[in-house]
């Protein structure tokens, strides 16, 4: 009988933390202006005006918008930049990928 090839739990956690896909989520706040959020999205992600407005409206109407997906290191950099602009941004594992 072959032993299970499952990695020890600690190794699995390390793999999830460093690899895989992560998402950058912006949460709604009642303070920042819509025009400000649009500008920040255009500046930080290079979105065109229409995409930036769509994402801003998602934040405003649904309370959150996933603005970027990808590797953790780059996702962290985006979260830092968004927080530097005083937006409420969080990092989440992208369970869909």
């Amino acid at each position: 009988m072959t032993k299970s090839a499952t990695l020890p739990k600690e190794d699995v956690r390390t793999e999830t933390a460093l690899g895989g896909s992560w998402r950058v989520v912006v949460l709604n706040d009642p303070v920042n202006l819509m025009s400000y959020v649009v500008l920040v999205f255009r500046k930080v992600f290079g979105f065109d005006d229409s995409t930036a407005r769509r994402r801003m409206l998602e934040v405003h109407e649904q309370g959150r918008s996933v603005v970027w997906r990808g590797l953790r290191e780059k996702a962290e950099a985006y979260v830092f930049t968004l927080q530097q602009w005083h937006l409420t941004a969080v990092l989440e594992p992208d369970e869909a990928n």
Binding site: D29, P30, N32, L33, S35, F80, H86, T88
Partner: protein, 153 residues
């Protein structure tokens, strides 16, 4: 480089500067909004917060620097590609702090809609709310006139 000069009424704006200065003092040691990363190790967390705080202090210094002698003499403040971004951020930081402190009693719905009778507010809240609106107006002016400078910078 595109530059805009905004003329302000000194007697109206000067009292609001006291509000900005009060909030600015608090923003030297505390970040305006929620920050950080989930499951970050303590060293990264400390460095993360430290860098954000340092940037925030620079923003606040730039905002306070707008209202120097020239402002009180001429009533004018100027924005260009060099200061637009930091002033925008500073305004956001002060507004967030006002929400958490001086305007806490108003509630988020009221802040978001702006639907309230300012004249009925207690004096301190009234002044803080006028400052909150004033900073938003500065942001709107900058975004309207200098967005290309910021996006290109």
């Amino acid at each position: 480089m595109k530059r805009i000069e905004v003329k302000l009424a000194v007697p109206i704006v000067a009292p609001l500067l006291d509000v900005i200065r009060e909030q600015a003092a608090g923003l030297r040691d505390a970040l305006a909004g929620p920050t950080g990363l989930p499951d970050a190790d303590p060293e990264l967390g400390e460095s993360w917060g430290g860098e954000l705080l340092e940037a925030q202090r620079s923003e606040i210094d730039a905002l306070l620097g707008l209202f120097g002698e020239e402002f009180f003499r001429e009533g004018a403040v100027s924005f260009d590609g060099d200061n637009a971004e930091v002033i925008l951020r500073a305004c956001a930081a002060v507004r967030l702090r006002l929400r958490e402190h001086a305007l806490k009693t108003l509630g988020d719905d009221t802040l978001e809609t702006g639907e309230l009778e300012i004249s009925r507010l207690p004096r301190d809240v009234n002044r803080a709310f006028r400052c909150y609106v004033f900073l938003a107006t500065l942001q709107e002016v900058i975004i309207q006139h200098l967005d290309e400078s910021i996006l290109g910078g």
